[in-house]
Symmetry: C2
Subunit: 152 residues, 2 copies
């Protein structure tokens, strides 16, 4: 084999690389949307706000799991968001080890200000997909995730 027989200049793109690229573009797009609204915030912070807004107060570990982040990283994420005044660490009612993370008023206000950014980024990404394709894509990815997690 001497050099590339493939016609495509870049990206022969196996699924793994493709996934990474789409992920990066999508997150980048979201973060730019947020920045355009005047909020310097990364995807993890966005996700944390989203989960807290959707689900109500929860413990740090619970939050860490739902946003797929290490426990230590979550502590520091909470530090940042708390410093900005978007959430509060309250003591957990039954378990003194644990926390009850709750959005502040400011956090809720922020969320209602930015939740559309995510929808917009997503909508832009999936314009070009028929609605049923969108559904199928979601289903396939969920399926893969289940296979990888339950699998072995």
């Amino acid at each position: 084999m001497v050099t590339a027989p493939s016609p495509t200049p870049l990206s022969d793109s196996n699924l793994g690389a493709l996934l990474c690229q789409v992920r990066n573009e999508l997150i980048g797009r979201l973060e730019r949307e947020l920045a355009a609204h005047g909020y310097e915030m990364n995807f993890s912070q966005y996700l944390a706000l989203k989960k807290l807004a959707a689900h109500g107060p929860m413990s740090a570990g619970e939050l860490a799991r739902t946003i797929n982040l290490d426990a230590g990283a979550t502590t520091r994420l909470l530090d940042r968001l708390e410093a900005k005044g978007y959430l509060r660490r309250q003591p957990h009612e039954q378990d003194r080890r644990a926390l009850r993370i709750a959005l502040t008023e400011a956090g809720q206000a922020l969320w209602s200000d930015i939740h559309a950014c995510g929808e917009r980024a997503l909508a832009e990404a999936t314009r070009g997909l028929a609605p049923d394709e969108h559904v199928r894509l979601h289903a396939m990815l969920s399926g893969i995730l289940a296979t990888l997690r339950g699998g072995n």
Copy 2:
């Protein structure tokens, strides 16, 4: 809306989060495969080897673009792989600013030793998908990527 009407305890999972999760699982799986073969190597390093093996020698910038990595990060990635003896920085024939990154013998041997790890990780992920689904998934992701990049 008060609380979650959805039956799933975790992951109401919009596409962005889902993508991240699949990506993380897939990469984790690959890195564990590699570690099991005795190679401590992250996904970026794996990709770099792959591209160099598939495409032959190329410049650092070219490599950076194909593996979707910042130029500075690529410099350090090359440092690591060069230190392990898997590649060499050679001067570019026409352009003295640029490099010609080439796999060493050891690098080629390594690649033929590990390229199956990637295939295996991918195969495990997509077992459960019919072949035509696999194709459609790839097509949809490529489409999304094109939309996001060309889009606006």
